[in-house]
């Protein structure tokens, strides 16, 4: 059981971003992807989620054997168990967080079944308390006027409420101060389970001190070029990415 990416290639317009990417995240593990800006990390998250701007030109992604690309609509993939916490979450004016998450949960119920409102709010408040999100936020519009840190906490709240099987966290640490980083990481760690896999995309090693990964992958130019344990992240932090590129050239 795993999130399995095989030989994945994808374009935006005429430009190829992913160039035959291979990666497998077994259920129960946390994998990190590190890489320089422009290496294609965020593209990978969006392609898996089904963003309309990207065209998949080859390869496959499967969730526990389920072919993701056979599901056209992003919402089908989400309901199949994929969650992406975005680097830049969108603002949705007029739609409150409470209504938004409720609609997302309602969408997962069989037709004709209604979400129990009382239970829903109890559950929501519990998760908000854990993430130290003020309850007043339930009536605020999704991400509208939120600080960077509030947006990220709201992403993790949604993840906690929607209970995905595989979660992709795209630069969830960017824009967070150290306290917020700890809160968000605690939220993610609380969700670590043998029944769930995480793919944590990050630019900096810092986040991985809080969310300790089982495997670290290095992405260069649309491919995973190196994998290792958490010490690989420390080495990247200390020495940068240049040595990785040299090593690839040497072995090529």
């Amino acid at each position: 059981m795993s999130l399995k990416i095989e030989n994945l290639s994808a374009n935006i317009g005429d430009r190829q971003i992913l160039k035959g990417l291979n990666l497998e995240v077994p259920k129960g593990q946390v994998h990190a992807i590190m890489g320089k800006n422009g290496s294609g990390k965020s593209t990978l998250a969006k392609v898996m989620a089904g963003h309309p701007d990207y065209e998949v030109t080859g390869g496959s992604v499967t969730l526990d054997g389920l072919n993701l690309f056979e599901m056209q609509e992003p919402d089908q993939r989400a309901r199949a168990g994929l969650f992406v916490a975005f680097q830049y979450p969108m603002e949705i004016p007029g739609v409150t967080i409470a209504n938004f998450i409720r609609a997302a949960l309602q969408a997962r119920l069989p037709e004709g079944e209604e979400l129990d409102a009382v239970e829903y709010y109890e559950h929501l408040y519990k998760k908000m308390d854990a993430l130290k999100i003020d309850r007043k936020f339930t009536s605020r519009a999704v991400n509208e006027g939120f600080s960077g840190g509030e947006k990220k906490r709201c992403e993790v709240l949604q993840m906690a409420m929607l209970n995905p099987v595989y979660a992709v966290l795209d630069e969830t640490d960017s824009g967070l101060d150290i306290d917020a980083l700890r809160i968000v990481s605690d939220g993610v760690n609380a969700m670590r389970s043998p029944e769930r896999g995480f793919l944590v995309i990050t630019h900096y090693q810092r986040l991985l001190d809080y969310i300790v990964p089982d495997v670290v992958h290095v992405m260069v130019d649309g491919r995973i070029v190196m994998s290792g344990d958490k010490n690989l992240a420390h080495k990247l932090e200390a020495q940068g990415y240049d040595w990785v590129e040299k090593e690839i050239l040497a072995t090529a």
């Binding site: 919402d75 739609v95 969408a107 929607l162």
Partner: protein, 468 residues
């Protein structure tokens, strides 16, 4: 003949029709003979017959307002329209007496059920005439009159004649002239001094026949210090050919009276909806229009308030949703004609696909007046790049110590926002629906509960349809 109601009622809303035998049919086309036929059937008094004929002359002599309005108006073929269809002119007081084929239409639309649940009175119009009209006994005992226009002019001429055609003169525009020539149905309401009607009165306008024109005429008079809320709902089945709905609604709020008029229309995409609505507010009176325009091919409607007495107040709250191929040309008119009058306009429009929304606002505050205030807010929401929105405010503020404030905004639901919502498991249609409901949410909260639920449902249906 369609006799079995389709199981999937919710999706089709008003899109169904039954074959009905009409006892009275004025045929197609509009001439003086059509007027005579209508007047004969309705047993109009002579002054009404003359009123109609005069209106017909005005209608024929007035050009289509295409120098400012949509050229789509030219596609209305007046000769192909049927101007009067009914099964009789007397509305029934009990649903049991309403002919079966008409009754099942209203049952399917849920009218008798709503009446039992939360209404003080109901009038249900089927094509040209009301099939049913009744008010709760307690309301009737307070002296409230709630009948059709024909019954109003025949039984209450002393009140009817005093105000009929006074707020909206026949020649106000080409379509008010047309309505004045062939009007039938609509409500006549009189609220005696000091009476506050607790529950809403409701009218439901249903078009059943193809190539038909519905021309109801509503006159509401709230006497001094009285209060009333009137709600109207409208539907029609979807025909290939165009259908015309052209109503005239006149409101009169005497000193200190309050009238709230709520419309939730859900016309099918073949309906030309060209309606003139205006209220006259006397001293310290308040008239509030809440207008929700969903559906239709072209809607042109600019509810107005003439604030004639000191401290009178006018308000228009409008929501327009223009789906693919639809044009919602709506707005408001506020005429300040006395000191210390205040008006408020809040207009929100949503354009989807090739849908088009236009806001036209007219605010007039005269030179000799003081202490008048107007606030206008108009917000447009565009869903996908083909949609279009235009704003044409016309504000004339003269005199001292008068204040006018105008705010307008245009926002978009981007593909990026839809994608974000879809990533959470919400379908594209539901995502658009959420965004639209969020956009109008603050206005919808002003509606009575039953209507806000209904409106949300209509928005959901419209969004489902727009994704296809």
């Amino acid at each position: 003949m369609e006799t079995k109601p389709d199981l999937n009622i919710d999706r089709s809303v008003g899109d169904f029709h039954y074959d009905v035998d009409y006892e009275f049919d004025a045929g197609t086309g509009l001439t003086e003979k059509t007027i005579d036929y209508i007047s004969d059937v309705k047993e109009d008094p002579d002054w009404i017959r003359e009123f109609r004929k005069d209106a017909l002359r005005k209608f024929n002599s007035m050009p289509m307002p295409t120098h400012w309005a949509s050229h789509d108006l030219e596609n209305i073929v007046f000769d192909n329209i049927r101007y009067y269809l009914s099964q009789g002119t007397q509305p029934k007081r009990s649903w049991d007496d309403v002919p079966e084929d008409v009754k099942r239409t209203f049952e399917r639309l849920g009218i008798p059920e709503q009446e039992r649940k939360f209404l003080a009175g109901v009038e249900a119009q089927f094509d040209s005439e009301a099939a049913y009209s009744n008010i709760k006994a307690a309301v009737g005992e307070q002296g409230v009159i709630f009948v059709g226009s024909t019954e109003g002019l025949q039984k209450h001429p002393e009140i009817f004649k005093k105000w009929f055609g006074k707020v909206i003169p026949t020649g106000d525009n080409k379509f008010s002239a047309l309505n004045s020539a062939v009007f039938s149905g609509g409500s006549f309401i009189y609220i005696p001094p000091g009476v506050k009607v607790k529950h809403p009165l409701q009218a439901y306008f249903r078009i059943n026949a193809e190539n038909f024109g519905q021309f109801e005429r509503t006159l509401i008079i709230a006497d001094e210090g009285s209060e009333v809320m009137y709600m109207e709902g409208c539907t029609a089945p979807k025909f290939e050919t165009s259908t015309l709905h052209s109503a005239v609604v006149e409101l009169v709020a005497l000193k200190g009276a309050k009238i709230q008029y709520i419309t939730v229309q859900n016309w099918s995409a073949n309906v030309f909806n060209l309606v003139t609505k205006r209220g006259l507010a006397h001293e310290e009176a308040e008239i509030k229009w809440i207008d929700c325009n969903i559906g239709s091919r072209l809607t042109m409607k600019y509810p107005g308030v003439i604030m004639k007495g000191r401290k009178a107040r006018g308000e228009v709250i409008s929501i327009a949703l223009a789906g693919d191929g639809q044009h919602q040309d709506t707005g408001a008119k506020m005429v300040h004609a006395a000191d210390e009058t205040t008006s408020n306009i809040v207009s929100k429009s949503i354009s989807i696909g090739k849908g088009r929304s236009t806001y036209r606002g007219l605010v007039q505050i005269g030179r000799h007046l003081k202490g008048c205030k107007n606030n206008t807010e108009c917000d447009a929401l565009l869903i996908n790049t083909d949609s279009r929105t235009d704003t044409y405010p016309a504000i004339t503020v003269r005199g001292k110590e008068n204040a006018c404030q105008h705010e307008a905004s245009v926002s978009k639901i981007s593909a990026e926002q839809i994608f974000y919502m879809q990533q959470r498991g919400i379908s594209e249609a539901a995502a658009m629906s959420l965004a639209v409901n969020g956009f109008v949410n603050d206005l919808v909260q002003q509606f009575p509960m039953e209507y806000s639920v209904e409106l949300k449902r209509l928005i959901d249906l419209e969004m489902e349809g727009s994704v296809g």
